[in-house]
Point group: C2
Chain length 112, copies 2
Amino acid sequence: MPEADAARVAATRDRLVTPEEATRLAELFRLLGDPTRARLLYALLEAGELCVCDLADAVEVTDTAVSHALRLLRTAGIVASRRAGRTIYYRLADAHVRMLLDLSREHLKETG
Amino acid sequence: MPEADAARVAATRDRLVTPEEATRLAELFRLLGDPTRARLLYALLEAGELCVCDLADAVEVTDTAVSHALRLLRTAGIVASRRAGRTIYYRLADAHVRMLLDLSREHLKETG
DNA sequence: TGCACATATGAACACCTCTTCAGATGTTGT
DNA sequence: ACAACATCTGAAGAGGTGTTCATATGTGCA
């Protein structure tokens, strides 16, 4: 039996996905897996920051539906918000989300 | 109907993914957004290749459920299969899928 | 050919999700 | 304080989804 390589062992353990983690990952994907929410997110990817009414306009759904959708995305940490007077601006929460959206677009482009 | 920043909305809508593309992207994410399917995919990410019965064992669901899940993933081009006798081995379809699964894990790790 | 095995399929049902409607909350300007 | 505005919230119904059960297909071996 070869000697244990601590770094490699740690790296290997990192790769293991527990049922709980998989469930949380599924939850993340599930939130992206709705046409309205997906369009909202890609709108934010392009625009950087938009308020609810602009998002409703861009995606062509009622502001109520947008508000409901954004609440799910916000509580999941996928988007973040900032208040300016009575309007509230939303943006993608972090670089990982942006990369995720970009990468999946690549996938679609190359696989048809 | 709330007021909207017309110029910004127009500029965003121009570069925006089309509703059709967003719908297809949502469809992709939706398929990843189920605990059973997610666990199957991450099992394949680790193992490389597994047959239906091994997947059922690993994820602890009936092989019928696995078969149903794999059909969705297969017709969507997320997994590919190979027959060896009466057993059928499944694997992730391409590098994009692998990157998508990896990247989302990163997101979860860093955002808690 | 006949049997056991691995996987696939179709229908049915319980469960969840998204949208809509009506109304509430919080903010700005007069 | 009031009215107009932007956003949020809760409830309810239509529609979609995943699992299960029973059965079918296809493969290898005797």
